[in-house]
């Protein structure tokens, strides 16, 4: 995948994710609606491909206003990755040469790999994660389970032990997906299934949209690394 195609695909997928986020704020408090209305308009422009360089700069400024409005991310990691994607797209368009564009997009891809690996590392070093207790706690008393029926999963310790290790291994081994196009296809499929499962159990819908928007950078970086031999 060429860098130009990866950038354009990222713009399209990110604009869809941002439109989805913005629509969720249509009935929000008055002082947040205005920021998301601006984001909605800018995202449609980005989707269509009108003046993407200036639209990305405007989206970056809009992201700063939203960070200020909520004094941090509204939706945790999905907002953080949204801001990272907006910032990298903005920087890519402002870079003086293709080489610098590659550095920026490479940084984005690296952070996406880290989003899995560091998360897996943060889990595997804790005994509660290795024993399955942490995931039992998530279901038993955290705020995340979407229904009381989902909470009942806490009563399945063996299943949760297996799920804990499945998550840890997926996250820790994700960097190996960069070794070949086939490995990356498998890695992205498993990772997307993981995000969808998180949505089904914990309602994290925005994570699915935003992480999907970051995948073209991985596909581009993997092909670039292959070219380097």
């Amino acid at each position: 995948m060429s860098l130009d195609l990866a950038i354009r695909l990222t713009e399209i997928l990110l604009s869809i994710a941002l439109i989805q986020q913005s629509l969720e704020h249509v009935f929000g408090l008055r002082d947040e609606r205005v920021h998301y209305f601006v984001r909605l308009v800018l995202s449609v422009l980005l989707l269509v491909g009108i003046q993407p360089q200036w639209v990305c700069v405007a989206l970056f400024i809009n992201a700063l206003f939203i960070l200020r409005r909520f004094q941090g991310p509204y939706n945790g990691g999905s907002d953080l990755l949204s801001v990272l994607l907006i910032t990298c797209l903005c920087a890519v368009h402002l870079m003086p040469s293709a080489q610098w564009q590659e550095y920026v997009f490479g940084y984005l891809a690296l952070q996406v790999v880290f989003s899995y690996f560091k998360s897996g590392w943060a889990k595997v070093i804790y005994r509660d994660w290795r024993s399955g207790q942490a995931l039992r706690d998530v279901f038993a008393f955290s705020v995340y389970p979407v229904s009381e029926a989902t909470r009942e999963w806490a009563t399945q310790p063996r299943l949760l032990w297996a799920m804990s290790w499945a998550v840890i291994l997926l996250e820790l081994l994700f960097p190996l997906a960069m070794l070949s196009p086939e490995a990356l296809a498998a890695g992205l499929t498993l990772a997307m299934a993981f995000h969808v499962a998180n949505f089904v159990m914990f309602g994290f819908n925005r994570f699915v949209w935003v992480w999907a928007a970051a995948y073209p950078s991985l596909i581009w970086l993997q092909a670039r690394l292959d070219l380097l031999g």
């Binding site: 945790g76 801001v83 990272l84 979407v146």
Partner: protein
């Protein structure tokens, strides 16, 4: 906009820690009570936005595209955590305004005519204590007016 403050907000996005769910600590709940008398200390507390018993397939499917209410509920609990970490003014205002919005929405017309004149909220943290769960009340707010056009 103060630049240092903006940088403080932006840097975690540019250099994220990516430590999702590493330690499962005490989990916040926002609880609410309504009263007509702000001096009344005998409050009946109820959980704000309790989760449903079950979600239908159709609700899940819709939620993939439109999950505004749930995401706002997660934000409320995030505000509860931020409150305890010191962002008291901002977090308290966010919780207060959203609870007020809930109350007026529940009332239907938005004029608050039939609901008690005041509400309070409290932050409860649930954690594991060996094999059982414990609940600790970390904060109880003063009474706020249910209808306050200047704070919506």
């Amino acid at each position: 906009m103060a630049i240092p403050n903006l940088l403080k907000l932006l840097l975690p996005a540019l250099f994220p820690s990516w430590r999702f769910f590493d330690v499962i600590g005490p989990s916040p709940r926002v609880e609410l009570c309504l009263t007509d008398n702000p001096e009344n200390d005998e409050a009946v507390w109820r959980e704000c936005r309790p989760r449903p018993a079950q979600l239908r397939f159709r609700d899940r499917l819709t939620g993939f595209f439109w999950n505004a209410r749930w995401n706002e509920t997660l934000y409320l609990t995030n505000c509860a955590e931020r409150f305890i970490q010191g962002q008291e003014e901002h977090a308290s205002r966010e919780i207060r305004r959203r609870l007020r919005s809930d109350l007026l929405r529940a009332e239907g017309e938005g004029d608050g005519g039939n609901i008690p004149a005041f509400f309070r909220f409290r932050l409860v943290f649930v954690s594991r204590d060996d094999d059982s769960l414990r609940r600790d009340v970390a904060f109880v707010s003063p009474p706020y007016q249910t209808v306050d056009p200047l704070d919506r």
